[in-house]
């Protein structure tokens, strides 16, 4: 609970219209896109400037009030769920594109800018910002940076981390710092920019970011390869990479996913095959042409039943848009959709797909698998019902086993969704006790009072390590 004194001070900082603490105002910020997490904040605040953010943070630090920075609440790890109450910090006023620098090829934004709006703005100037999380129509850049979001173009172009050049951050004591710059080279001290990318709001509040842009690729082609054998599709992925082709997108969708996506998008996706690969290449026309031909050959050699190239830009767009809807479309099957993003080296993708299916069988669960196969980042998704406690337990067991398998194959518990509160109990599996301790040292150094998004990344109790022998 916030004392009246604190409330008055908060209102004095942002104006009465930008602070709310009514039940319904708090309720609508008690969740994000992660199933099964809900917790009421004590208040919701919408600052207009970095200075206001700094004053809010100072006040909260003094009174040890938790702060949860929140973009559009589209994250999938419970990262913006105020599990320990406190203040939800909104960026609905700080949502401007500050500058597109065509000489240095950078864009500078406030955290509340919607990813797609920024992408459209830079593309209008012939520039390209590649990270494209499926939620880009709604997600904000502040959210993308804090979660280090990936996307469909990750395997060729990398993730958000690879494009953040400079940040303005409000530290937990209210100090405002600037990291990095519009610089291709910069080794002045620790790389705090990289530290803050993916820090999930636990080390400070990002209030401005400068991002790297590249020239927009000349052309783009999209194709769909159909398979009657899951493993053949997965093997194709490794084979394409092994043939030294890096497509801009290489997505995998299994039959259950195809069915729900088609049910939503109605664009004529095949639902009578076991799996499809959605493949895209961009670049100079002759390179794209050559790569597409070569990849089609590999697909055929790996027993694809058909390979179709999209004939128009609209057709291609419809395919990728449909893919982006996959997660939410799975909610058509059952009320609760539990999704993970275990990631493995791409050479191991076939083993992972196979393993997930075996685990689903073992626990008698339906698991839809789709994801960014090209970069080893899969999204096994389990449609279930939170009201069925017995099944929910099986789901948890199954996912624990999927994490264990991923780590065993040299992978990680999360590729792009973040740890948040959802995967915190498993973090130790990936990092070890010492790894956690090193991270905690950073956290307590920068946020001694633990006010910045507390309860995230580090779990109170780690889960007992699961050992899979197969």
């Amino acid at each position: 609970m916030l004392s009246n004194d604190v409330k008055q001070k908060l209102k004095a900082i942002v104006g009465v219209e930008n602070f709310e603490d009514s039940k319904s105002a708090c309720l609508v910020y008690s969740y994000d896109a992660t199933p099964n997490f809900q917790s009421m904040p004590d208040g919701v605040i919408s600052p207009r400037t970095t200075q206001e953010v700094s004053e809010i943070v100072k006040l909260c630090n003094e009174h040890k009030i938790p702060i949860v920075p929140r973009g559009s609440g589209s994250n999938l790890c419970g990262g913006t769920c105020p599990t320990e109450g406190g203040l939800v910090l909104l960026f609905r006023h700080m949502n401007k594109i500050l500058e597109i620098d065509e000489e240095n090829l950078t864009v500078t934004v406030q955290p509340g800018v919607v990813t797609l709006d920024m992408i459209n703005a830079v593309e209008a100037k012939g520039l390209f910002y590649p990270p494209d999380p499926s939620s880009m129509k709604i997600s904000t850049m502040g959210g993308n940076i804090n979660e280090n979001s990936g996307g469909l173009r990750g395997l060729k172009y990398g993730v958000t981390r690879d494009y953040v050049m400079a940040l303005e951050v409000v530290l937990a004591n209210g100090d405002i710092i600037r990291t990095g710059g519009k610089l291709a080279k910069d080794v002045a001290g620790y790389d705090l920019t990289r530290l803050y990318v993916g820090s999930e709001g636990t080390l400070g509040v990002i209030t401005e970011a400068t991002l790297k842009l590249i020239p927009i690729p000349e052309t783009k082609k999209t194709m769909l390869a159909l398979y009657q054998d899951l493993e053949a599709a997965a093997k194709t992925v490794s084979k394409i990479i092994a043939n030294k082709i890096i497509p801009s997108t290489l997505e995998f969708l299994d039959q259950p996913t195809l069915k729900v996506v088609e049910d939503f998008a109605q664009i004529g996706l095949p639902t009578d095959v076991q799996a499809v690969l959605l493949i895209e290449q961009d670049g100079p026309a002759e390179v794209v042409e050559k790569d597409m031909k070569k990849m089609a050959e590999i697909c055929h050699a790996e027993k694809a039943v058909s390979v179709k190239v999209a004939q128009t830009a609209e057709e291609a767009e419809a395919l990728t848009t449909a893919r982006r809807a996959a997660l939410s479309a799975c909610a058509r099957l059952k009320p609760t959709t539990i999704l993970e993003d275990a990631t493995v080296p791409r050479s191991e993708i076939a083993k992972m797909v196979n393993g997930i299916n075996k685990i689903a069988e073992k626990y008698k669960l339906d698991i839809c698998t789709f994801g960014h196969a090209g970069d080893g980042n899969l999204h096994p998704t389990c449609p279930t019902d939170a009201r069925n406690h017995e099944e929910m337990e099986r789901v948890e067991e199954a996912f624990a086993e999927i994490f264990a398998l991923a780590i065993e194959l040299g992978g990680t518990i999360t590729g792009e969704h973040g740890v948040g509160v959802m995967k915190a109990p498993y973090l130790e599996w990936k990092l070890g006790k010492e790894g956690i301790a090193a991270m905690q040292a950073i956290k307590s150094g920068l946020d001694p009072n633990n006010i910045m998004n507390p309860g995230k990344v580090f779990a109170k109790d780690s889960r007992k390590r699961l050992v899979v022998t197969r």
Partner: protein, 443 residues
């Protein structure tokens, strides 16, 4: 004001009546946010977004919060445009949730006496009775023709009303005479070879205030080769009732309509108002718990089709030469026609088939204009804010003709044109009137 006692009853009914599966189906991905006009216009407030509203409904069901004034406010401010539905990958039936929640709140809340009287007069006393609709429209006609309108305007009496209502008075169409309204056809033959037999749902406002558009619709159907039956015992569709928390009244009207249309042996039942059509096409949901009516409702629903859809299917635009003097035309979607009846490409294709015109798509044509039934009267501030955005996009097309497919949208767009002072440069028309104009040019 809702009393604590009323809140308790409302909460109980939420638990009993709200579809819990549907509430859980919202997995809170937020894909609906950028399509919600009130989310955008409220300055990105989650409480005024579909995801926020569903979360509030669910929280009331779960007992986390009470259905207090703010919850009510959030539900009231929703336009009910249902733009969130086609973009929802999970397929949540938001419109059904909203309707149920509003019905529960309304049925258990004591309205103040004036509000109660107006609601009762309009919803129960007026719309379900076509003769009374004619009478009221007739009074408006008397007002327009008798010189009273001129007098009222000259004396500045309209200044006593809120600005947008005063402007609304100006844009109301010149209404038909009582004689015309009473003398309606019940059957029309196809012009040329007959290909289909259809029934026409004439609607209450459409068959009074917008009678000419109804005549145009029937003429187009005849030209497209349709024989038309217009059952005289049909009733108001009930949309206004359904949307304002009077579900039972809506059900009664639905039954009357199903009965009126079910033995006509027609291929389709045609509507020319997106708002009515969307409610008609939902009759099977409305009557889903009524074993006597469930199947009959399904049969009725399967025949509902919008005028532009049938004209397009019957190749009206290919079989008839359509031509108009040079002009730029743009189209404003009727939300319910697009989001519920899923008719969006047919009207555009018909307009693009007209020779001599240039069709320009406006940005965000699929975003609500702010009319939304009686929303522009009860939530005028938000409605006018939404309309202002719409007019910016309309003007950007440089169109001289703005086409709509629903009477509410038509009035709202006319209101927008009037507010912008563009009456000399821009006109708002119903698509059927424009199409008939385009046919007439040749003959």
């Amino acid at each position: 004001m809702t009393t604590v006692k009323e809140q308790q009853v409302i909460q109980e009914q939420f638990k009993e009546r709200m579809n819990q599966d549907e509430l859980l189906n919202c997995m809170r991905c937020g894909f609906c946010l950028p399509t919600c006009p009130t989310y955008i216009e409220s300055g990105l407030k989650e409480a005024h977004s579909p995801r926020g509203r569903i979360a509030l409904m669910k929280a009331v069901v779960d007992g986390i919060i009470e259905p207090d004034e703010e919850v009510e406010r959030s539900l009231e401010l929703c336009l009910g445009c249902r733009a969130c539905e086609p973009v929802c990958p999970s397929g949540v039936k938001y419109g059904h949730l909203l309707e149920e929640a509003r019905d529960i709140i309304n049925q258990n809340k004591k309205h103040s006496l004036p509000v109660k009287m107006v609601r009762n007069a309009v919803l129960n006393g007026l719309f379900p009775h076509q003769n009374r609709m004619q009478m009221v429209t007739g009074l408006l006609g008397f007002y327009q023709r008798s010189g009273m309108q001129t007098l009222t305007r000259k004396t500045g009496m309209m200044k006593l009303f809120p600005d947008h209502l005063a402007t609304m008075e100006k844009v109301l169409p010149q209404v038909p005479t009582m004689k015309k309204m009473k003398n309606r056809p019940e059957f029309l033959e196809a012009l040329g070879p007959q290909t289909k037999r259809v029934a026409f749902f004439k609607g209450c406002l459409m068959d009074t205030m917008f009678l000419e558009s109804n005549d145009a619709t029937m003429k187009l159907l005849q030209l497209a080769g349709c024989e038309i039956v217009i059952p005289p015992d049909q009733a108001c569709c009930g949309a206004l009732h359904g949307h304002s928390g009077e579900k039972d009244a809506g059900k009664e009207l639905a039954k009357r309509n199903i009965q009126a249309f079910e033995d006509l042996e027609v291929d389709f039942i045609i509507t020319n108002a997106g708002g009515c059509g969307a409610f008609l096409i939902d009759y099977d949901h409305l009557l889903k718990d009524d074993p006597d009516w469930k199947e009959r409702a399904k049969a009725f629903v399967s025949k509902i089709k919008d005028i532009s859809e049938i004209l397009y299917e019957l190749d009206f635009h290919k079989k008839n030469h359509l031509e108009l003097p040079e002009q730029v035309i743009t189209y404003q979607d009727s939300c319910h026609l697009r989001n519920v009846m899923k008719t969006a490409s047919a009207p555009r294709a018909l307009l693009q088939a007209i020779k001599g015109i240039e069709y320009r798509e406006m940005k965000d044509a699929d975003r609500c204009c702010g009319s939304a039934g009686i929303y522009n009267i009860v939530e005028s501030e938000m409605s006018m804010q939404i309309l202002d955005y719409k007019m910016i996009q309309t003007k950007a097309t440089l169109a001289t003709t703005v086409v709509t497919a629903n009477p509410g949208c038509l009035l709202q767009m006319k209101l927008g044109i009037e507010r912008e002072g563009l009456t000399d440069k821009m006109r708002g028309v119903h698509i059927v009137d424009l199409l008939l104009e385009a046919v007439g040019q040749e003959k």
